[in-house]
């Protein structure tokens, strides 16, 4: 099936999310859509999938113009979509999820799930998915949930599959498997639209690459084009993809974690017996696939988790059992993973957000009253120092772009002397330009002698920043490896292999290749 988008424009009020975009997906082709977060890739795909009406433009399937009033129409036309956030009902079984909206029924509208199960097994066998139709979706690993999404599209006879940032939630190993599945689908004559901002993956699977920036197509590229060329096309200026940083000069070990265990309300050990140290002047990166205990680890350090056992000491002071305020006072700076929910109060002004951790200290407060002049002065300084792009210091923080919001959070946390700095997903959803800035700022804090912990699910970021890397898998520490370790080793560890085995295996593989 040949799919064409001609002059698609989508406006939300005054915001132009897509500006007359043209795109042709030929049959049996993997067509990548490369662009930064917020470039308009997902909007375009939602238009294609019938979730949004285009403001202008036309969609053609096999040279015939079509209009999609809803996802149902798009599916009927042979378009299937795997959303970035899976569209699966967590409490349903695989079969129920696949059947939904496309139910095989017996007399009287009663479900015939048996037929759906048979179809799932067929597809699962054909592509080697290994999916049990009767498993409950919320119990399945993310990689398998994604296959369920693909099955949903295939059951509806999709000829074009849209994969929206499919690798964001996968381990490197699962990513490789997904790329294999994509090759198989392509061999079966299906077309694939692959949306990503990860250059490596895009280069590996694409037949054609279309680069989108600020809602416009800025060019097409060949998969063999060098990475730097693709990156500068994506960002709109030349970017340095590597960070200049001096080797770390670790000092005294001031931060110690011993036998730390965090239990969830249901008794599950989400952090299980962690012990590690961080020295002054070094960055320890905590790597792992999302949901393997990283969030709970950082929250346990900050005193935000109940049911914590073990010991966390900073400069000899025990932190477990103390209040969040005490921990902040002890000199811990924290950038939470979801800035819009936990890092900022969206409806508060930028100036107010900049003093959220010091609102009751001089010079911002005297007795019961706040002092607006000091708050404003502080805001002006920080906005200049961090190059926060905002209309004014009194603008609501929620109106800022992701990168600028993150600068506000960082500016606030760095605004007092720190004894420990923790950042969770410091550059998630942040544009490439801001990433450079934020990374340099974190390295500067390290060079100033602060122990730094970075939690990130992006391997690129981990490898770029880390002096040492700790890998978490199901709440347990798979080991701590040097910052210069290979991706393969990290990939194995993220899938649950202890560090020594992973190092040995990666070594063997390399030996074999040579």
């Amino acid at each position: 099936m040949k799919l064409e988008l001609i002059g698609i424009t989508k406006r939300f009020g005054s915001l132009v999310a897509n500006d007359s975009i043209d795109l042709v997906v030929e049959p049996g082709q993997v067509h990548s859509l490369l662009g930064e977060n917020g470039a308009g890739k997902s909007t375009l795909m939602n238009v294609l999938y019938g979730l949004y009406d285009p403001t202008e433009g036309e969609i053609r399937v096999d040279d015939r113009p079509v209009t999609f009033k809803g996802p149902g129409d798009a599916m009927a036309a042979g378009i299937g979509m795997v959303h970035q956030h899976f569209m699966l009902v967590p409490v349903f079984t695989v079969a129920e999820n696949v059947a939904l909206g496309n139910e095989a029924t017996k007399a009287g509208g009663m479900l015939n799930l048996q037929e759906t199960r048979t179809r799932i097994r067929q597809i699962s066998d054909q592509y080697g998915f290994d999916v049990d139709p009767d498993a409950v979706v919320e119990d399945l690993p993310v990689g398998v949930q994604q296959r369920v999404e693909i099955i949903k599209a295939l059951v509806r006879d999709a000829e074009v599959l849209i994969l929206d940032e499919p690798t964001a939630v996968l381990t490197p190993k699962e990513t490789d498997e997904l790329l294999g599945i994509m090759a198989q689908l392509k061999a079966d004559g299906k077309s694939i639209v692959f949306i990503s901002h990860k250059l490596r993956e895009v280069k590996a699977v694409s037949d054609v690459i279309t680069v989108v920036r600020r809602g416009k197509v800025v060019g097409t590229a060949d998969p063999s084009a060098p990475t730097t060329e693709l990156a500068s096309l994506m960002v709109g200026r030349s970017v340095s993809l590597t960070l200049d940083k001096k080797p770390a000069t670790p000092g005294e070990v001031t931060f110690r974690v011993r036998d730390l265990t965090v239990q969830a309300a249901n008794g599950q050990r989400v952090v299980d017996g962690l012990s590690f140290d961080v020295a002054e002047g070094e960055i320890l990166a905590v790597a792992g696939v999302q949901g393997n205990g990283q969030t709970e680890l950082t929250e346990a350090i900050m005193g935000l988790q109940d049911h914590v056992t073990g010991s966390i000491t900073l400069g000899g002071t025990e932190l477990v059992g103390r209040s969040v305020k005490d921990i902040i006072r002890a000199g811990v700076g924290f950038v939470p993973e979801d800035r819009s929910v936990e890092g900022l109060v969206g409806t508060f002004s930028v100036a107010e957000n900049l003093i959220l951790n010091r609102y009751d200290d001089a010079p911002f407060a005297k007795g019961l009253s706040m002092s607006p002049a000091a708050i404003e002065k502080n805001a002006d300084e920080k906005i200049a120092e961090y190059d926060v792009r905002t209309q004014s210091a009194s603008a609501a923080a929620g109106t800022l772009s992701g990168g600028n919001q993150q600068k506000v959070v960082m500016a606030r946390e760095f605004s007092r002397p720190l004894k420990l700095f923790i950042a969770s997903q410091p550059t998630r959803g942040v544009d490439v330009g801001s990433i450079e800035f934020l990374h340099r700022r974190i390295v500067a804090e390290r060079d100033g002698g602060t122990p730094v912990i970075i939690v990130s699910t992006e391997l690129d970021e981990v490898l770029e920043l880390a002096d040492r890397i700790a890998v978490l898998y199901r709440g347990r520490l798979m080991g701590i490896v040097p910052g210069a370790v290979s991706r393969d080793v990290l990939g194995l560890m993220m899938a649950g292999m202890p560090a020594d085995e992973a190092l040995a295996q990666a070594h063997d593989v390399q030996g074999g290749n040579l």
Binding site: Y49, L51, Y52, G70, P71, G72, D73, M75, M81, H83, M87, L88, V89, P90, V91, F92, E96, N97, A99, L100, G101, N102, E103, T105, G108, G109, M110, L111, D130, P141, G143, V144, K152, T171, K173, E174, E177, Q263, A264, A265, N266, G267, Q268, R269, D272, V289, H307, Y473, R474, L492, M494, A495, G496, M497
Partner: protein
């Protein structure tokens, strides 16, 4: 399968067993306190006489012998058994295990038996008709069950229905007026369903179309219906109650032979049409919810509406239809008050039953069968308080009348474990 998933599979059983878990002392503490209470009151304070539970009347076709038990014997056995269970729960919690459900269930049954024996034994006439107690419970549970089913239909599709009370009350009012004017109880039944739908329509339009907070709309509707029916009652119905407010009652339909079975015969096979409709409604809603296309889509829009939308299901239409259906169910439930229980409408005669139905829905974990049994429990508590006040127990009447509400509070406070609401219940769906 990937290394990731196999590694997970291998490690999960290790994590599952022997894990200390987050210890909760809630169950052992509650069990211990209740067991000590039982020891003090039911065992030490047991009435010295025998207690008689009648299973049938002398003129029934099949006569069963009455159960006669000794007050102190039952009191002591039950109290000691309850203490033993409490100790078991303490030991298990100490070793980091959960209190098994069967312990809670057996404990509850023991408490009930001991309480009944004690309270009936202490009464002036230590003799109670057990079959009547049970049959009365079912009868009183009828409107609760209809109300809960209405809640199931709404909440499973993602709309919180606080307006059950209003639906019941308006159904009761419409049934009384329509049946009085037409002289036919069946016309009343139909009118009740229509009235329920009218309340639902307002709920649906405001909460789905205009995205108003569902709890607020529900509460406002209850107040509105209460005010409206109260006004019409005093302005119209009381003026000429012969014409407006003297509905014929629905006839009791006895199923031959089956109705003669002792104890369960009167419960299952001596009902009005509303009673039989209740059993049908529970079964139909259950089967449809879990085994039909409509049910799959209903549950999907209640759990993850966006997922349903991306598969071409019209979320808000599903919800609209479900809320209207819920109105039919609750309206029929309302007719029970004026066509079965008493003949005629009274101001605010539903007396908070809609809220109890809401509690039954939660206690029953948003499942029609669960809601059915939860409503039966509340019906039993209500009926027990009625029967006991007639028997003349030492417990003051006011306390007995609190019984259903005390049971509700304990039930909803999660005595029986945490229940999980539909994921999107109460959250309006806005496209895009």
């Amino acid at each position: 399968m990937s290394t990731a998933t196999t590694a997970r599979d291998q490690s999960s059983p290790v994590r599952g067993t022997g894990d200390a878990g987050v210890r909760s002392w809630k169950n052992p503490i509650i069990l211990s306190v209740v067991a000590l209470f039982a020891l003090l009151v039911f065992a030490l304070g047991a009435p010295g006489n025998d207690v008689t539970f009648r299973l049938s009347e002398d003129n029934d076709p099949i006569v069963l012998p009455s159960i006669v038990v000794s007050g102190p014997v039952i009191g002591w056995i039950a109290a000691l058994a309850m203490l033993a269970l409490a100790v078991l729960a303490i030991l298990r919690t100490r070793s980091g295990q959960k209190t098994p459900t069967w312990v809670l269930a057996v404990f509850a049954v023991l408490f009930l038996v001991a309480f009944l024996t004690w309270v009936v034994g202490s009464a002036r006439t230590p003799n109670v008709a057990l079959y009547g107690l049970l049959a009365g419970s079912v009868t009183l549970a009828v409107p609760l069950i209809f109300g809960s089913l209405s809640g199931v239909l709404c909440e499973r599709s993602g709309v919180v229905n606080i307006a059950i009370e209003g639906q019941l009350l308006f159904g009761a009012f419409a049934a009384a007026v329509a049946a009085s004017l037409s002289g036919s109880a069946f016309v009343g039944l139909l009118a009740a369903a229509v009235a329920g739908v009218l309340v639902s329509l307002v709920l649906a339009v405001f909460s789905i179309r205009y995205v108003v907070n569902q709890v607020i709309v529900g509460v406002v509707l209850n107040v509105l219906v209460s005010g409206l029916t109260g006004f019409l009652f005093s302005a119209v119905l009381s003026e000429d109650s012969e014409r407006w407010n003297s509905p014929p009652r629905l006839p009791v339909i006895e199923i031959p032979l089956l109705a003669d079975i002792p104890v369960i015969g009167p419960i299952l096979f001596q009902q009005t049409i509303v009673g039989y409709l209740m059993y049908v409604a529970v079964a139909v809603v259950y089967v449809a919810l879990y085994h039909s296309r409509w049910g799959l889509r209903t549950r999907a829009v209640g759990e993850h509406p966006k997922a349903a939308d991306t598969l071409g299901v019209n979320v808000n239409r599903m919800r609209f239809v479900n809320v209207l259906l819920a109105g039919v169910v609750a309206g029929i439930g309302g007719s029970f008050f004026t066509l079965v229980a008493v003949s005629g409408f009274g101001r605010d005669m539903t007396a908070g039953q809609g809220y109890i139905a809401l509690a039954a829905l939660i206690f029953g974990r948003w499942n029609p069968i669960g809601a059915f049994f939860a409503a039966l429990l509340f019906g039993f508590a209500t009926n027990l308080s009625n029967v006991l006040s007639l028997l003349g127990t030492p417990v003051p009447d006011q306390f007995l009348r609190m019984l259903p509400y005390v049971v509700t509070v304990f039930a909803v406070a999660g005595l029986v474990g945490r229940s999980r609401a539909p994921g999107a219940s109460g959250i309006p769906y806005i496209k895009g």
